[in-house]
Symmetry: C2
Subunit: 428 residues, 2 copies
């Protein structure tokens, strides 16, 4: 199974004192202090939706605004111009296991997915199938749908298990030689099921299909190691485990051997060779820069640098180990204390087969999620139809914080404290 | 001629004392103080490339980072979720002469242009021509080229005068009933030539073609008045006259009568009806929101709000009047003091026919631009092949600042102070 150190069997953390002990010996124990914590009593278990604010990010953005924009004005572009590539390099080398020059940060995940799916389709003009799975993040499926409709292609949908996720064998009969491009998520946004990147990539390679991976729920939490897994095309967001800030620009990765042969149909001056020569016709820049389009949001990129650097400093191996430990702690707690309250595990039980969050199914998940926030000081999130997602980001969460959150969840539901809340839809 | 109050004939400002007098009676005279000025000796004549930093923008972003992201964490999305539409509404009503619900702010200008051109092409499936002009901003042409290539369409290019720009009559014979969509800039990025929006729109309407306008060099400087000019589709950036910050998200406008019938092929969850229901298939949101795609960069949007509000407060009529005055001042100065140094006017002479910047052609424009910055404390910019662009943003520039910049330009070139500078390419 790809995706993590195989030897680690996290010990069971089944009491508050065990959680405190785990914090005391946590090799990442210093990292939660590197984040701004406005309310120490809050249990923040939604780092997989919006990563916490790193200390230094506010200062970094303030400096970009005041000293650079305000002070240097347009001349500050000398330093900003390569920000999408520079930040991409840090992410590539520090987080993705990719070489420099393979990754850029700009645009949203959906727009980046569109670019890569489109370019990959152009590279397989004689094939007519775009392969997706029925558990992928909706936006990814809308992007695929829009492209297929526009180009007169067929979207083929693989059914995967909503809890255990996709096994490469499930692709038998679907990932065939009429597939131009497939798109899957490395870690399921709902179940956290982890897909065997290398296994799926091997199957795709055999039939000559390209795969565009969405790494939104794995980058910064689970090793991706694009080189070792032969991952050729990927996108992902930077506002979850990478702590880049709300709506932070997304990344886009292309294997060096492909970068020169793919050209996005969505093209703009930031992807133009010799951009400021203002040539009359499009000529793609060498390599990964051709996947840039318009002027990137500098303030948002500046903020994102801080989080990416923190993740790289912590190291993906240590983050993966802690991610397995915290999710195992949730599973153990759920078995012991939540099953009797109507919760069922909706994530893989084997820590090697899941990312850094855990989903619990409960018929009242929406009300529970709301009540946790408004009455118990615990932030987790609801995902339709009946999932409570717990995402204790390994970089910023203490074991004791997670323990307290789980205890409050138990107490809330045991007391029926969620039953009378307004269950109107929430935003996040 | 569309584009401005017809009665205004700016008086000639032909001395420093006349410039000081003009500042003393300037109805917008208080606005330059609303911007951060790090170096009062600098003459900033590049507001058409990157608008100055409004006071309050740093504080606004700091609050978004520290109080909202840091303090409210994922729950802050309750307030962020409608930022692209809320800011779009302010821009629509305060700047574009458009109704609420017609405009969103998100993504880059090039990505927005791609969305609208693509959707407009879908609405004219029986036509095969995409019309552009040879003076449009290169990125716009790359976007058009990429779409046409992908869809097997023809790009037809109208030649326009590089100084006086496009007259609607030039479209005779080119804007014919085989044209699906045309895209032009309202104000030329090089010459500042102002196109008769209403005139071109009428011609397009007659042949059943759609026009997507790029308002990047007019929004915040020249009245657009999309209702009166029957402008149906438009995009534009917010980092020039709207002072939204480096790479600030761009806007996208769609006439209400069209919004329900166009659907972008670039689609994502932010354009989905009932986004958080996470429906399996794409169903476009009502109206303008369907043109959103991925999660928008909140920090960049927060910064952009401040500039848009300032422009709306100043009022587009007053900004247009001052824009005509400052550009007339440049033209008068050029006639009197720069023509003999080898400069020729490369913008329309009639203030009613140009936007808020002026281009001067000079064989040594690149060296002069560099020397102005490094030796004379004047920021203007160079545009290939031989243009010096002077963009004294009406909202943030004092007449005396412009006067000083022009005098320094004259002194620099008269003394040959630019001749020995390194003319290597600059970024902005």
């Amino acid at each position: 199974v790809s995706g993590g150190p195989r030897e680690i069997r996290p010990r069971q953390i089944d009491s508050r004192s065990a959680a405190l002990d785990a914090d005391a010996t946590d090799p990442l124990g210093g990292f939660p202090d590197r984040f701004v914590v406005a309310d120490p009593s809050l249990c923040y278990l939604d780092g997989n939706s919006l990563g916490r604010l790193p200390r230094g990010a506010a200062e970094r953005v303030a400096d970009t605004i005041t000293r650079e924009w305000g002070g240097e004005l347009v001349e500050a572009w000398e330093g900003w111009i390569d920000l999408p590539v520079r930040l991409g390099d840090r992410l590539a080398t520090g987080v993705l296991g990719a070489p420099p020059g393979s990754t850029v940060v700009a645009d949203s995940t959906s727009v980046n997915l569109y670019k890569l799916l489109g370019a990959a389709l152009d590279a397989r003009p004689d094939r007519h199938v775009l392969l997706v799975d029925d558990d992928n993040f909706p936006s990814d499926r809308y992007v695929a749908e829009g492209l297929a409709r526009q180009r007169g292609l067929v979207v083929r949908e693989v059914a995967v298990d909503p809890v255990s996720g996709m096994d490469p064998d499930m692709l038998e009969g679907a990932l065939t030689d009429d597939v131009a491009v497939a798109t899957f998520s490395h870690v399921s946004y709902r179940s956290a099921a982890l897909v065997d990147l290398a296994g799926v990539n091997r199957r795709a390679e055999r039939v000559g299909a390209l795969v565009v991976w969405d790494l939104s729920h794995s980058a910064g939490a689970v090793p991706v190691d694009v080189m070792a897994t032969a991952t050729r095309l990927a996108v992902g967001c930077t506002y979850k485990y990478l702590c880049g800030g709300p709506g932070a620009p997304a990344f886009l990765y292309v294997d060096g051997a492909l970068a020169g042969s793919l050209t996005p149909s969505l093209r703009g001056w930031w992807g133009q060779r010799d951009q400021f020569a203002m040539g009359a016709h499009y000529e793609p820049a060498d390599g990964i820069a051709r996947f840039l389009v318009g002027t990137p949001p500098v303030l948002a990129l500046a903020a994102a640098e801080v989080g990416v650097d923190l993740v790289a400093e912590a190291g993906i191996g240590a983050l993966r180990a802690k991610g397995m430990a915290v999710t195992s702690m949730i599973v153990g707690f759920a078995d012991a204390h939540l099953a009797s309250l109507g919760f069922t595990l909706a994530s893989p039980r084997d820590p090697a087969r899941r990312g850094a969050h855990v989903s619990l199914a409960h018929p009242e998940a929406r009300r529970i999620s709301t009540a946790l926030r408004t009455r118990a000081g615990v932030v987790a999130d609801f995902r339709a139809p009946d999932r409570l997602r717990l995402g204790p980001a390994p970089l910023s969460t203490r074991y004791a914080e997670l323990w307290d959150g789980l205890e409050r969840l138990q107490a809330l539901v045991a007391s029926g404290g969620h039953l009378d809340v307004d269950a109107s839809a929430r935003v996040s």
